[in-house]
């Protein structure tokens, strides 16, 4: 009796939802059992599960379907509650069909068969989970996660704030002690531009290609920020690719490093001690970087500005409360909002497309080529340096702070037990984060 009154999700549940739930469970398994980026993969996985349970409404947006032209309603193929594909016919007028600009389900029908309608008259209220171009298909969020997504991600609030927290957690000391390693962080951005070109070749638009390319920057907030502005409809795929490959850095980087270096090169010893960097240098760096970078690339201001102000909280010594909050409570809150919203941006209808697979493939190419470029530049630098650097630290230019630096440390220890490369690898590592933010700003400046 109750079932007659209760609308369950079963009629709208299909194999795609089941597959996405399995993928979400896989993320949670990797996080819990394998300890792979648990702070990211648990909420992303759970968000994926939630959004693939029909009628849960967590990621719903409402939109009004209007008559594109005047006419008389000849047929209404849809009923309230029916699901439809993108392009599905909602009304048939004597002057033509009225199709859905998104996938979703019918919330309410406002006109019936035989009625005449004017151009622009509201015909139906539709519910969708699709991120639309608001200028063409305006929607408004009605679910918990769609509100967080719209006002947090699409309004570009959460990614820069996440960058602020990462800035507070970052120690630029190793990079300031050995600033030539900045070049390795720059070289690693090659992966961004290679993936950008490959994405164009396989048929993505310019803005989509830029959003895919920036995955190679290996910075989650940068990827989300750039994609939300340039290609919001692929944000789920780019964010998942970026965060997944950041977690998979220990698997992606070693083969690339081994392929490009000899055993002798991997064993190059680097003195463990770095120059002591003064407090004044550490305070001046975020200030100088902010001014220099934003004057040259103004569109990088939200990312670089937040990254550097967070770092200044950490280094100036008089904002301990702000620093502590940014490093602990605030980053946790932002992480919860951001990752749940990203997980929830992956309903099966959007995620299970051949384009998603292409994005994932291009993402891994981007990561691998970024590591390769860093290693190759380190080898070139060794041709001119009296005191050789271990070329493996070039691979740490793939930001993913501090994962890639840790990978280099582990590989260095395997080759030479006396070698402690972590501090040396942190230089290109944090330079890579700055480089990725600049690369993202350049894309936004040109294509945004």
């Amino acid at each position: 009796m109750l079932l007659g009154l209760l609308e369950t999700g079963f009629p709208l549940f299909y194999w795609g939802n089941a597959l996405m739930i399995v993928i979400g469970l896989g993320f949670i398994y990797l996080a819990i059992a394998k300890k792979m980026e648990p702070l990211l993969l648990v909420p992303i996985g759970f968000g994926m599960i939630l959004v693939n349970l029909p009628l849960g409404g967590m990621m719903d947006y409402e939109m009004t379907l209007k008559a594109p032209q005047a006419g008389i309603v000849m047929e209404v193929p849809m009923h309230e509650g029916d699901a439809f594909e993108k392009g599905g016919v909602i009304y048939k007028l004597d002057t033509g069909e009225v199709t859905a600009p998104v996938f979703g389900r019918v919330d309410s029908l406002k006109v019936s068969q035989g009625q005449s309608v004017e151009k622009g008259q509201p015909l139906a209220s539709l519910i969708t989970m699709e991120q639309t171009n608001q200028a063409e298909v305006p929607t408004h969020p009605v679910g918990l996660f769609s509100r967080i997504f719209k006002f947090g991600v699409m309004w570009q609030i959460l990614p820069p704030l996440m960058f602020l927290c990462l800035g507070a957690l970052t120690d630029f000391g190793p990079m300031l002690a050995n600033p030539k390693t900045m070049l390795l962080g720059a070289a690693a951005q090659f992966g961004v531009y290679l993936a950008f070109f490959l994405a164009l070749i396989v048929g993505f638009s310019m803005t989509e290609a830029a959003s895919i390319g920036i995955i190679g920057g290996a910075e989650g907030p940068t990827t989300i920020y750039v994609t939300s502005l340039l290609a919001p409809h692929i944000i789920g795929a780019t964010a998942v690719a970026c965060y997944s490959y950041m977690a998979l850095v220990p698997i992606i980087l070693p083969p690339v490093i081994r392929l490009l270096t000899t055993k002798e090169e991997r064993g190059i010893y680097m003195k463990p001690s770095l120059r002591k960097v003064s407090k004044l240098e550490k305070i001046l760096f975020p200030l100088i970087t902010t001014i220099v970078v934003i004057l040259i690339v103004p569109s990088s201001a939200p990312l670089i500005g937040c990254f550097m102000v967070g770092n200044l909280f950490n280094e100036c010594g008089v904002t301990e409360r702000l620093n502590k909050t940014a490093q602990t409570t605030f980053i946790d809150i932002i992480t919860i909002f951001l990752t749940l919203a990203i997980g929830a941006s992956m309903p099966a209808q959007i995620f299970l497309q051949s384009r998603t697979l292409l994005i994932l493939i291009l993402g891994v190419i981007s990561f691998a080529s970024a590591a390769a470029a860093g290693v190759i530049l380190a080898k070139i630098m060794n041709l001119f340096l009296k005191e050789k650097i271990n070329p493996m630290i070039g691979a740490a230019g793939v930001s993913a702070v501090p994962m890639s630096a840790r990978v280099v440390q582990v590989m260095g220890q395997k080759e030479n037990k006396q070698n402690f490369l972590l501090m040396h690898a942190m230089g290109p590592n944090v330079a890579g984060a700055i480089g990725a933010a600049i690369a993202g700003g350049v894309f936004l400046g040109i294509l945004g």
């Binding site: 004044l280 690339v297 330079a431």
Partner: protein, 44 residues
């Protein structure tokens, strides 16, 4: 239709800019080091 001219400019210009800015920061870091060491030396 892809504007390949713009794509090439974006990629080469972008990569060059990233490199250029990080080189500029490298120079600024070295300058900062020299100045701060001088200040510290004068104080002593």
């Amino acid at each position: 239709m892809i504007d390949w001219g713009l794509a090439i400019k974006t990629a080469i210009g972008g990569f060059g800019l990233v490199f250029g800015i990080l080189m500029l920061l490298w120079v600024s870091v070295e300058l900062t080091r020299v100045v701060t060491e001088k200040i510290a030396g004068n104080k002593k």
